[in-house]
C-alpha cells in the first residue's frame, strides 16, 4: 500500500506531495524533512530502498529532483521503483516541454495549474500498485 508520494528537490523543498493516509499537517513537514534527510544521505552506489521506521521508502533521483514513495511491507519494491519511472515518463509525454530540474514551476507556467495536480492521480490508475490509487 502506498502511503505517500513526494517530489522533493535537493535543498529539501517539497515540490509535490500526496498522502494516501491521513497525516496531520504539522506532522507532514516533519515527516518530509526526515525522509529527505535519509534520501540525501545516500550515495549513488547504495540501493534505492530504505527502511524507515516501520515502512519503506523507495526513491529515485532525476538530476536535482528526488521522487520518494513511502510504502508498507507488502509492496514489491521493484514494482514501485519502475512505477516512479513510469510516472516521470507520463509527465514527460503529457507536458511535452518537461525538464527534470525542478519541473513543477515549468509545468505550471506551461498549462493549467490544476493539471499538475490531476496527473499523479490519473497516471497511478494505469500503473502497477497493490492498492489502486485514485
Amino acid at each position: 500500500m502506498i502511503k505517500f508520494f513526494l517530489m522533493v528537490n535537493k535543498q529539501g523543498q517539497t515540490r509535490l506531495s500526496k498522502y494516501y493516509e491521513h497525516v496531520d499537517i504539522n506532522k507532514r513537514t516533519l515527516l518530509e524533512t526526515e525522509v529527505i534527510k535519509s534520501c540525501l544521505s545516500r550515495s549513488n552506489e547504495q540501493c534505492s530502498f530504505i527502511e524507515y521506521k516501520d515502512f519503506k521508502l523507495i526513491y529515485r533521483q532525476y538530476a536535482a529532483l528526488f521522487i520518494v514513495v513511502g510504502v508498507n511491507d507488502t509492496e514489491n519494491e521493484m514494482a514501485i521503483y519502475e512505477f516512479i519511472h513510469n510516472f516521470v515518463e507520463v509527465l514527460d509525454e503529457y507536458f511535452s516541454r518537461v525538464e527534470p530540474i525542478d519541473e513543477l514551476p515549468k509545468i505550471c507556467s506551461a498549462l493549467e495549474p490544476q493539471q499538475a495536480c490531476f496527473s499523479p492521480d490519473s497516471s497511478f490508475k494505469g500503473a502497477a500498485s497493490t492498492t489502486p490509487i485514485y
Binding site: 500526496k18 499537517i25 504539522n26 547504495q46 514551476p105 493549467e112 495549474p113 493539471q115 500503473a127 489502486p132
Partner: protein, 718 residues
C-alpha cells in the same frame, strides 16, 4: 493513457474560456491564471525558510480576504483554491478555505467543480466534520446525466467518504456497475473496494456483482476487481478456490499477449500466491512461460509465487537460476531483490544459500546498511547451533551502530528469539557466551524491548536445562557477571536490565562462595539509593533484598534500608519495607517463607483463610458480631433509607473497618430513639442521628449526608 486524453478534453473548454480577449476582465483573468505560477516561482527563488514563511503568510492573508469577500466569483474562487492547495502542501494551515472548497464543488460548473472536489479530497480526511456537507453534492452528481460529473463524484467517493453515509450512496453506486461506459464501471468498482476496506459488512451482499466485474470485457474493470479479490482472498482463501480457473485464464491472456502491456499483472501473481495449490498443471505451465518476460519486478513476483505453490522441479530450477542472477548482479537494487528472494526461499531449499555463500558473506560487510540489514534477516532464518555465535556477533555489531528505535527493537527481538527460543532451549554453545550476549542485548535494548524477552530469559534461568550442574554453572556465572557490572562506577543500565539483575541476584546469590550475601545486599542497597532507578525497579530490588536477608545473618544495611523505606512516600515501597521489618524480627519464619531456589515450585493458596477459623471462633464466643455478607448489608441499608434518621455504630477492629451496623430507623417526630445495639467489643463510635450512607468497608472515610449535603468524615482509626 485514455484517462489522460479524457482529462485533456475536460480541460479544453476551460482553456478556451481563459484565452478569450475582453479588455479589463481578461487582464484580471490572465493575471489570476498565472498567479499560481508566479507564487511557485517566488517560492523557488527564495533561499531561507523564514522568507518563505513570510511570503506564504502574506499570500494566505490575501487569500483569506478574497475567499470571504462576497464579490468573489466562482472562477476567482477556483484560482484561490489552487493556491490554497499549494500552501497546504508546503505545510501551512489553510483551514479557512475548507468550507469554500465544498461550496465550490457544489455550485461550480464542470471545471470549478473538479477543482472543488480535488481540493476537498486533499484538505479533508475521513473523520472530518465538514465531510458530511459533501454527501448531498455527491449524491446529486451521481445521479446527473453528465458523465464527467458522475466520474468526479465516484472518484471522491473512493478517496474520502464518511462511513456512516455509505448506505445513502450504495444503491446508486451498484447501479453504476452496469453502466455502458467502462470508465464509470471501473470507478464504481474502486468505490466499492474502498467501502470494503472501511466497512466490509456493508458490501457483503454484492459479491456476485464483483464476479461479474472480474469477467468484464474491459481490462480496466477487471484489474480493479482484482484488488477487491486480493483483499478478500487474504482474509479467507478457501472460499474463493473456484475462481482459480478464471485467474489462470487471465494469466494466460497476459502471457499470450492478448492484453495490453501496461496491465498490472503482478497483482494477479500476488493473488495466486495466496493459494498453496497442489499440482495445478495449467497454472504451472503458464508461470513457466512468464519467465520470458523482461520486467524485473514481475520476475521477482514469479519467483515468490513459485516457492509458495506446490513445488515442481523444473520451475524451481528456473527460479533458482533467476535468484542467482539477481544476487550476483552488480546493480545494487537487484542484489537487494536477490537477497529478499533468498529469504523466502531459504527455509525450503537451504542448498541455494550454500551456492551463494560467498556473495552473502560479502554482503554482510557491504557499505550500504540496507543490504547489511537484509543479509542479517537472511542469516537469522538459517541460524542453527553451529553458526549462531557468528551471526549473533554480526547482529550485535549492527545493533551498536544503529540509533533508530525501530531497528533496535527489531534486532533485539531477533537476537532474543535465537538465543532464548521461547523458553524451551537455546542455540547458545556455552554459558559464558550466553550470559555475555544477553547482557549486551539488555544494555542496548533494555528499555525498548518487548517485555516477554526478560521474562523468558528469567524463566529459562529458573527452569534450566536437564543437567542440574550445568544450570548451577549458568546461574553462578550470571550472578558473578552481574556483580561485576554493578561494581562499575558511573554506568547507567536500562531499567529492565536492573530488574533482571536484581531477580537473579536475589534468587541465586546463595551459589556464591566468595562474596557473602551481606555484600550483595550492600550493592543492592547502593542501587536503591540511586535516584536514576525507577520506582518499579526499586520494588524488584527490595524484593531481592528480602530474599537475601535470611541468608545474611545480621546486617545493618538491612536495618538502614528498613528505616529508610518505612517512611517512604511510595506506598508500594512502604509495604515492602514493613513486611521486611516484621519478617526480619523472626529469622526462622523468614527462612521457611523464603526458601532457597524454590522459584519454580507452585504455591498452595488457601483462599478460604481457614487458618483464621480459630481466631474467629474465639471472637464470636466473646460476643463479637458475626460477619454479614455484603448483600445483606446492602439490603439492610436500603430498608433503612426509608427512614430519615438512623443510629449507626461503627465497630472497629484494630485497623480494619469491618462493617457498619445500622440500627433501627427512627422517624423524625419521635425524639427518643429505640436502640438495639449489639454489645460492642473494642473501640467503637456512636454517631448522631443523621442519615448516613455507608460505603465500602475498607475506606478510611465514610460519607455522611446531613440536610441534603454530603460530608466526608474520616473514620477514627485506633
Amino acid at each position: 493513457m485514455s484517462d489522460i486524453v479524457e482529462k485533456t478534453l475536460t480541460a479544453l473548454p476551460g482553456l478556451f474560456l481563459q484565452n478569450q480577449p475582453g479588455g479589463g476582465p481578461a487582464a484580471a483573468k490572465a493575471s489570476f491564471s498565472s498567479r499560481l505560477g508566479s507564487l511557485v516561482r517566488g517560492i523557488t527563488a527564495l533561499t531561507s525558510k523564514h522568507e518563505e514563511e513570510k511570503l506564504i503568510q502574506q499570500e494566505l492573508s490575501s487569500l483569506k480576504a478574497t475567499v470571504s469577500a462576497p464579490a468573489t466569483t466562482l472562477k476567482m474562487m477556483k484560482e484561490c483554491m489552487v493556491r490554497l492547495i499549494y500552501c497546504e502542501m508546503l505545510g501551512y494551515d489553510a483551514s479557512f478555505g475548507y468550507i469554500h472548497a465544498i461550496k465550490l464543488a457544489q455550485q461550480g460548473n464542470l471545471l470549478e467543480k473538479r477543482v472543488g472536489y480535488l481540493a476537498v479530497s486533499l484538505f479533508l480526511h475521513e473523520s472530518h466534520e465538514l465531510l458530511l456537507l459533501l454527501v448531498n453534492t455527491v449524491v446529486k452528481d451521481l445521479q446527473s446525466t453528465n458523465l464527467v460529473e458522475v466520474c468526479m463524484a465516484l472518484t471522491v467517493v473512493s478517496q474520502i467518504f464518511p462511513r456512516e453515509m455509505i448506505p445513502a450512496v450504495l444503491p446508486l453506486i451498484e447501479d453504476k456497475l452496469q453502466h455502458s461506459k467502462e470508465i464509470i464501471r471501473r470507478k464504481a468498482v474502486l468505490a466499492l473496494y474502498k467501502f470494503h476496506l472501511i466497512a466490509p459488512n456493508q458490501v457483503q451482499h454484492i459479491h456476485i456483482k464483483f464476479r461479474k466485474a472480474l469477467c468484464d470485457r474491459d481490462v480496466g474493470v477487471m484489474a480493479a476487481s482484482l484488488h477487491i479479490y486480493l483483499r478478500m482472498i487474504k482474509e479467507n482463501s478457501s472460499g474463493y478456490k473456484d475462481l482459480t480457473g478464471s485467474f489462470v485464464t487471465i494469466l494466460k491472456q497476459v502471457v499470450g499477449g492478448k492484453l495490453p502491456v501496461d496491465f498490472n499483472y503482478h497483482i494477479l501473481l500476488q493473488v495466486l500466491q495466496k493459494y498453496i495449490l497442489l499440482l495445478y498443471l495449467t497454472m504451472i505451465l503458464t508461470i513457466s512461460a512468464i519467465f520470458i518476460f523482461l520486467s524485473l519486478a514481475i520476475l521477482f513476483e514469479c519467483v515468490h509465487t513459485v516457492y509458495s505453490i506446490y513445488p515442481k522441479s523444473e520451475l524451481l530450477e528456473k527460479a533458482a537460476k533467476c535468484i542467482g542472477k539477481f544476487v550476483l548482479s552488480p546493480k545494487i537494487n537487484l542484489k537487494y531483490l536477490g537477497l529478499k528472494a533468498l529469504t523466502y526461499v531459504i527455509q525450503q531449499d537451504p542448498t541455494l544459500a550454500l551456492q551463494h555463500q560467498m556473495t552473502i558473506i560479502e554482503c554482510l560487510d557491504h557499505p550500504d546498511p540496507i543490504i547489511k540489514r537484509e543479509t542479517l534477516e537472511l542469516l537469522y532464518r538459517i541460524t542453527n547451533a553451529q553458526n549462531v555465535t557468528v551471526i549473533v556477533q554480526k547482529m550485535l555489531e549492527y545493533l551498536h551502530q544503529s540509533k533508530e528505535e525501530y531497528v533496535i527493537v527489531n534486532l533485539v527481538g531477533k537476537i532474543a528469539d535465537v538465543l532464548v527460543l521461547n523458553t524451551v532451549d537455546t542455540y547458545a554453545p556455552d554459558n559464558a557466551w550466553f550470559i555475555q550476549t544477553m547482557n549486551a542485548v539488555f544494555s542496548v535494548g533494555g528499555d525498548v524491548m518487548h517485555p516477554d524477552i526478560p521474562n523468558n530469559f528469567l524463566r529459562l534461568l529458573a527452569e534450566g536445562f536437564d543437567d542440574e550442574t550445568e544450570d548451577q554453572q549458568l546461574r553462578l556465572y550470571a550472578v558473578q557477571s552481574y556483580l561485576t557490572l554493578l561494581d562499575m562506577e558511573n554506568v547507567f543500565y536500562p531499567q529492565r536490565f536492573l530488574q533482571v539483575m536484581s531477580w537473579v541476584l536475589g534468587e541465586y546469590s546463595y551459589l556464591l562462595d566468595k562474596e557473602t550475601p551481606a555484600e550483595v545486599i550492600a550493592k543492592l542497597y547502593k542501587l536503591l539509593m540511586n535516584d536514576s532507578v525507577s520506582s518499579e525497579t526499586k520494588t524488584w530490588l527490595i524484593a531481592a533484598v528480602t530474599k537475601l536477608t535470611p541468608q545474611a545473618h545480621s546486617s545493618d544495611t538491612v536495618e538502614r534500608l528498613i528505616h529508610e523505606f518505612t517512611i517512604s512516600l511510595d506506598t508500594c515501597m512502604r509495604q515492602h519495607a514493613f513486611e521486611l521489618k516484621h519478617l526480619h524480627e523472626n529469622v526462622e519464619l523468614m527462612k521457611s517463607l523464603l526458601p532457597v531456589d524454590r522459584s519454580c515450585e507452585d504455591l498452595a493458596v488457601d483462599a478460604s483463610l481457614s487458618f483464621l477459623d480459630g481466631f474467629v471462633a474465639e471472637g464470636l464466643s466473646q460476643g463479637a458480631a458475626p460477619y454479614k455478607p455484603h448483600h445483606q448489608r446492602q439490603e439492610e441499608k436500603l430498608s433503612q433509607e426509608k427512614g430519615n434518621f438512623s443510629w449507626i455504630c461503627v465497630k472497629l477492629e484494630s485497623y480494619f473497618i469491618t462493617q457498619v451496623l445500622s440500627l433501627v430507623p427512627i422517624s423524625f417526630p419521635d425524639p427518643h430513639p429505640a436502640l438495639t445495639l449489639h454489645p460492642l467489643k473494642g473501640p467503637s463510635i456512636c454517631c448522631f442521628p443523621l442519615c448516613v450512607h455507608v460505603f465500602s468497608s475498607c475506606s478510611s472515610h465514610f460519607y455522611v449526608r446531613a440536610c441534603n449535603i454530603w460530608f466526608s468524615v474520616p473514620a477514627l482509626i485506633c
